[in-house]
Symmetry: C2
């Protein structure tokens, strides 16, 4: 059981006084980590479409992909990632960070 690689999901709710410009800068710098940290193989993000009204106030999701837990650990401890995290630590109202090794189901199963 278990698919390939490791996914690192970040759900974010920004503080009310954080500007859209600041959020866009955060997204740009987060995206740029793909160019700076080799084990980070792919990155995607998006905003809540609010189809279900069960988002608990989270407005943005960020998903990073790695080949292995080792790759994730290298990312987490990379100096670029640490500096990035520190520079934006104060902009969040709340965060959930969730790492998993996906089990992939496709039709027919």
């Amino acid at each position: 059981m278990g698919g390939e690689g490791v996914k690192h999901i970040v759900l974010a709710k920004f503080k009310d006084d954080v500007s859209e410009e600041k959020i866009n800068e955060f997204i740009k710098n987060y995206s740029d980590l793909v160019n700076l940290i080799e084990p980070l193989k792919a990155f995607q993000w998006g905003t809540e479409l609010s189809a279900s009204n069960m988002d608990q106030g989270f407005s943005h999701v960020f998903e990073s992909s790695f080949e292995s837990v080792q790759g994730l650990n290298e990312f987490v401890s990379d100096s670029h990632h640490i500096a990035f995290g520190k520079s934006y630590a104060s902009i969040f109202d709340k965060l959930v960070i969730f790492d998993y090794n996906p089990t992939i189901i496709s039709y027919p199963n």
Copy 2:
């Protein structure tokens, strides 16, 4: 901007008295929706690897993929999905449901 399709993420924390057998049955029935609901194109799930200690108690993630918001809406209102949701409504301590259209960043960006 915006990639293809729509992702439907569910983060779950089960109540303490929910058995592992019940959780496995939930996962099996969730996975089986891929065979029952045509707009549900792919499904994956996993458990928290706890690399960051910022999971807020969430233990499981489930990610469903659709081609469009319309496909997501068809899934949400499908009778199989509704019956599935009702039969497990009482097993959660908390849930976050988050829908998004991913913007995909890959190296070099």
